[in-house]
C-alpha cells in the first residue's frame, strides 16, 4: 500500500536518533560505570572498581578519624583471598563482621582505599531465618 510519509514516522525516527545521540553523549562523558567484582578478583588491579564482599574482622579504627580498617573476602567462600580495606565516611548501621557490603574504591599500595561514604550494606534478608554471623 503506497502511503505518504507520515509525520509520525519521521517523529519516531528522529526521536530514536535523538535518544541514541544522548546515549552516546552520556557514555563518552561519564564513562560506562564501574566493574563490580569480588575480592578474589581484585588481584593487582588498580582502576576504580566496586567491591562486593563479606566483612571479616577485626574491625579497627574510626571511620571519622583516620579511617576504618577491615578486610573483605568473597561471599560464598570458595576463595579465601582477603583484601584489606581502608574506609572513611558514614558507616551504615548494619555494618558488622559477617555482613555483605558493597564499596567503591581502588587499590593503592596493597590496600583497597574506598571512596568516602560509598559503603552500602545489604539489608538483612527480608524474611529469612536468623543465621548466626552468616550471610544475611
Amino acid at each position: 500500500m503506497a502511503r505518504k510519509a507520515s509525520p509520525a514516522r519521521l517523529v519516531i525516527a528522529l526521536s530514536v536518533a535523538a535518544v541514541l545521540a544522548v546515549f552516546l553523549l552520556y557514555t563518552s562523558i561519564a564513562g560506562g560505570g564501574n566493574p563490580s567484582i569480588a575480592p578474589s578478583e581484585l588481584g593487582t588491579r588498580t582502576e576504580k572498581v566496586q567491591l562486593a564482599g563479606l566483612v571479616v574482622g577485626p574491625v579497627r579504627g574510626d571511620s571519622h578519624a583516620g579511617g576504618l580498617r577491615f578486610a573483605l573476602r568473597d561471599i560464598g567462600g570458595k576463595h579465601r583471598t582477603r583484601v584489606n580495606v581502608l574506609y572513611a565516611g558514614s558507616v551504615p548501621d548494619l555494618f558488622k563482621v559477617g555482613r555483605h557490603i558493597v564499596i567503591d574504591g581502588r587499590l593503592r599500595n596493597g590496600v583497597f582505599v574506598a571512596e568516602p561514604g560509598s559503603m552500602i550494606t545489604k539489608c538483612p534478608s527480608k524474611y529469612a531465618p536468623k543465621q548466626d554471623g552468616g550471610p544475611a
Binding site: 519516531i12 552520556y26 561519564a30 563490580s36 567503591d104 527480608k126
Partner: protein, 664 residues
C-alpha cells in the same frame, strides 16, 4: 488445615486450566455455552483461591508454626497487624496474594464488561486464565505456602525494620499495581485474538489501568517516605534495582494512559498502545522476577529462591506470544487517520510517550547492564546514581515541559497564532519565575532552575485551565463560584482529575529539584556543648540521653536548634540498639518547617562512649512537597477514577458510532 489449603490450590489450578482450554476452544469454535462455562470457572477459581488464602491467614493468626511459612515469617509475640502483613511478607504468601488479586480482578472485569463487549470477553477469559495457570502452578508445584514441619517452639520473627506501619501498606499496594496491569493486558490480547481491536478494550479497561497505576504510584511514594523517615540515610530514592522494578511499569503505564486518549480521539497509535500494554505487563512480571530471583545486586535482598527461572521463562513466553499475536493482527490495527502535524496535541502526546518510554528503557538498561556486561565482558559493570540522574534530567525535564503544552495545544494542527494566544501567559509566568529565582540565587544548579521554571509554566497552564472552565460554568448559570468549580470537576472528571494529577507531578518535581539540587550538608564531630552550622541553621549539641524500652536501648542526642536569633526548640536524633536482634538502627531527627516545606535532617553517624557524637546534617528545601504531592496525586486519581455513568455511556456510544466489523 494445610490439606485444605493445598486442595484449594489444586482446585484453582484445575479451574484455571479448564478456563484456559475451554475458553479458547469455546471462543475459537464460537460455542457460547463452553465460553460461558470458562467464565464461570474463572469466577470459581477466585473463590477457591480465597479459601486457600483464608487457610494461610488463619494459620498466621493462630501462630501455627507447623506451617513452615508461618514459622519462618512470624513469631509468637509479633503484633497482630504485622502477623497479617506476613501474608505478603514471604515469597509463597505474596504469590498467593498475587493469584487471589488476579483471579478477583479477572472475574470482576469479565463480569462488568460482558454485557457490551461479549465478543471480546470470550477471548479475554483464556488470557486471564493463562496468567493464572502460571501462578497457580508455581503455588502448587514450586513454592507452596502449605509446606508442613514439626512445629518449633517459636517462629523466627520479623526483621525490626519491617515492623513498621509502612510495610502494612507499601507491598500490597505495589502488588495491586502489578496485578492490576494484567487487566488491560488481558483485554488487549483478547481483543487481538478476537480480531476486534477497536477502541472497546480501551474503554473497558481505562479505570482498571488507572487504578493499577494509582496503586503503583502511591506504593512507591510510601516506600520513598519510609526510606526517608525510617532508614535514615538522608534520601528517599536510591535507583536500586528493586525500586526501579516498580518505577518501570509505572512509567510504561503512564505513557499508556496518555496515548489511549489519542487513540480514543483520533484513532491513531493503535499498534503503539498494544505494544505499551504488553510492555507494562511484561515489566511488572520482570519486576517480580528481579525482586525474587536475586540476579542483580540490590540493597533489598529477599529470600532468594528457585522461582527465578520459571519467571524468566514465563516472561519470555508472554512477550513472544503477545508479539506474535500483534504481528498476526497487524492488518487489523492499521489506523484510518494519520498524524497531521508535528505541532498538535496528538503529537505532544506522542513526544510525551517517547520520552516516558526512553526513560523507562534507559532505566531497564541500567538495571540489566550488570548482567549484559557480565555476559559480554565477563565482568559485571554497575551503572551508578550518575547514570540514572543524568537520564532523569535529560528525559524528565522535557517531559515536565510537555505536561504544560499537551493539555492546551489544539488537536490535529495548531497554528502559530493559536500557540501565541494559548501560551502567552504561562510562558511569561515561567520566565518571570525563572528570572526571580535567578536573582534569588537559584542559579547554583542549572537543572534545578530549569525544573522550577518549567514547573511554573505547567502550574500556570493548570491554573488557567481551571479558571477558564470555572468562568464558563459560571456563565452557563452556576449559582456561585465554588458551585461552578465543583460542577466543572464533576462534568469532566477525567480531564480535571488529570490536571490535578499534573499539579501533583509539578509539586513532586519542585520537591525533588529543591531537595536534591539545592540541599546543603555538613558534618562535624561534637562534644556536648559544641555547635555546628549548616545553611542558616545553628545546632548546639546539648546532651546525650539513654532510655530503656522493652526491646531496645534508645540513645538520643539532644540538639538545640536556632536560626539567626530565633530559637527553634530541641531536636532529638540517635540510635536504637535492639537487644535480641543485636542490631543498631538510626533514628534520625527531622524538623519540618511547615511554612517553607524545608526539612532539617540530623543523623547521628557515630556515638562514642565518651559522649562525642559525629553528626551529619542536611538541609533539604521543599522536600515536604514530595509528600504533599502524594496526597494531591491520590485526590486527582480519585477524581478521574470516580464512576461516571454519563461519561461511560458517551464512550460506549462513540465506539458504537465508530462501528464494529459486521462479522459474527
Amino acid at each position: 488445615m494445610a490439606e485444605l489449603g493445598r486442595a484449594a490450590l489444586l482446585v484453582t489450578l484445575g479451574l484455571v486450566m479448564y478456563a484456559l482450554v475451554a475458553g479458547a476452544a469455546g471462543a475459537h469454535l464460537g460455542r457460547r455455552r463452553l465460553a460461558l462455562s470458562a467464565q464461570n470457572a474463572l469466577v470459581a477459581a477466585f473463590f477457591s483461591t480465597l479459601v486457600a488464602s483464608a487457610v494461610l491467614l488463619g494459620a498466621l493468626l493462630r501462630h501455627d508454626f507447623s506451617f513452615t511459612y508461618v514459622a519462618r515469617t512470624t513469631s509468637e509475640d509479633l503484633p497482630t497487624a504485622y502477623t497479617i502483613s506476613a501474608f505478603w511478607g514471604g515469597q509463597e504468601g505474596s504469590l498467593l496474594l498475587w493469584l487471589l488479586v488476579l483471579t478477583g480482578f479477572g472475574a470482576a472485569a469479565v463480569r462488568l464488561n460482558r454485557g457490551w463487549a461479549r465478543d471480546l470477553i470470550v477471548w479475554v477469559v483464556p488470557v486471564f486464565a493463562a496468567v493464572a495457570v502460571f501462578f497457580a502452578f508455581l503455588l502448587v508445584a514450586v513454592a507452596s505456602p502449605f509446606v508442613m514441619q514439626a512445629a518449633p517452639a517459636d517462629g523466627a520473627g520479623m526483621t525490626p525494620s519491617l515492623q513498621n506501619p509502612y510495610m502494612l501498606a507499601h507491598p500490597p499496594l505495589l502488588y495491586l499495581g502489578y496485578v492490576g496491569l494484567t487487566v488491560p493486558f488481558a483485554f488487549c490480547l483478547g481483543a487481538l485474538l478476537a480480531g476486534r481491536p477497536d477502541e472497546r478494550w480501551l474503554v473497558a479497561t481505562r479505570r482498571w489501568t488507572l487504578f493499577a497505576w494509582t496503586a503503583l504510584g502511591i506504593g512507591q511514594l510510601l516506600g520513598a517516605h519510609w526510606a526517608y523517615v525510617e532508614v535514615g540515610w538522608g534520601g528517599y530514592y536510591a535507583w536500586d534495582p528493586v525500586e526501579n522494578a516498580a518505577l518501570m511499569p509505572w512509567l510504561a503505564a503512564t505513557a499508556f494512559l496518555h496515548s489511549v486518549m489519542v487513540q480514543e480521539k483520533r484513532g491513531i497509535l493503535r499498534v503503539w498502545n498494544v505494544l505499551l500494554v504488553i510492555l507494562a505487563f511484561s515489566l511488572s512480571l520482570f519486576g517480580t522476577f528481579l525482586t525474587r530471583s536475586g540476579v542483580v545486586n540490590s540493597i533489598h535482598s529477599f529470600t532468594q529462591s528457585s522461582i527465578g527461572p520459571w519467571f524468566l521463562a514465563f516472561i519470555a513466553l508472554t512477550v513472544a506470544i503477545s508479539l506474535a499475536v500483534v504481528f498476526w493482527r497487524l492488518p487489523l490495527l492499521r489506523s484510518q487517520t494519520r498524524l497531521e502535524s508535528p505541532v498538535s496535541r496528538e503529537a505532544a502526546f506522542l513526544y510525551n510517550n517517547l520520552l516516558l518510554l526512553a526513560l523507562c528503557l534507559t532505566i531497564l538498561w541500567g538495571v540489566v547492564y550488570p548482567l549484559i556486561s557480565e555476559a559480554v565482558r565477563g565482568e559485571a559493570v554497575v551503572l551508578g546514581r550518575a547514570y540514572y540522574d543524568f537520564f532523569l534530567r535529560i528525559f524528565g525535564l522535557p517531559l515536565l515541559l510537555l505536561m504544560g503544552i499537551g493539555p492546551l495545544i489544539a488537536w490535529r494542527r495548531a497554528s502559530f497564532a493559536s500557540l501565541v494566544t494559548t501560551f502567552r501567559w504561562p510562558v511569561l509566568a515561567a520566565l518571570a519565575t525563572g528570572a526571580a529565582l535567578l536573582v534569588l540565587g537559584a542559579g547554583s544548579s542549572v537543572p534545578g532552575l530549569v525544573a522550577y521554571t518549567f514547573s511554573a509554566f505547567v502550574a500556570a497552564t493548570i491554573v488557567m485551565e481551571f479558571a477558564r472552565g470555572t468562568r464558563a460554568r459560571k456563565a452557563l448559570g452556576a449559582s456561585s463560584w465554588p458551585n461552578a468549580f465543583f460542577s466543572l470537576l464533576g462534568r469532566n472528571r477525567r480531564r480535571y482529575g488529570g490536571y490535578v494529577v499534573h499539579a501533583s507531578i509539578v509539586l513532586l518535581a519542585v520537591g525533588i529539584a529543591g531537595s536534591s539540587a539545592f540541599d546543603k550538608a555538613a558534618d562535624a564531630k561534637l562534644r556536648p556543648g559544641e555547635s555546628m552550622a549548616v545553611g542558616d541553621y545553628n545546632l548546639r549539641y546539648e546532651a546525650l540521653d539513654e532510655r530503656q524500652t522493652s526491646n531496645a536501648t534508645e540513645i538520643r542526642a539532644q540538639l538545640a536548634v536556632s536560626r539567626g536569633d530565633r530559637d527553634l526548640g530541641t531536636l532529638e536524633a540517635g540510635k536504637n540498639a535492639y537487644t535480641v536482634e543485636q542490631q543498631l538502627s538510626n533514628e534520625v531527627g527531622i524538623r519540618s518547617d511547615p511554612l517553607t516545606g524545608e526539612d532539617l535532617f540530623v543523623i547521628t553517624e557515630q556515638i562514642d562512649p565518651d559522649g562525642t557524637v559525629y553528626f551529619r546534617v542536611f538541609v533539604k528545601p521543599l522536600v515536604n512537597l514530595i509528600w504533599i504531592a502524594g496526597l494531591v496525586f491520590v485526590m486527582g486519581s480519585l477524581i478521574a477514577l470516580w464512576p461516571d455513568a454519563r461519561e461511560q455511556r458517551r464512550l460506549v456510544e462513540r465506539t458504537r458510532e465508530i462501528g464494529l466489523p459486521a462479522t459474527r
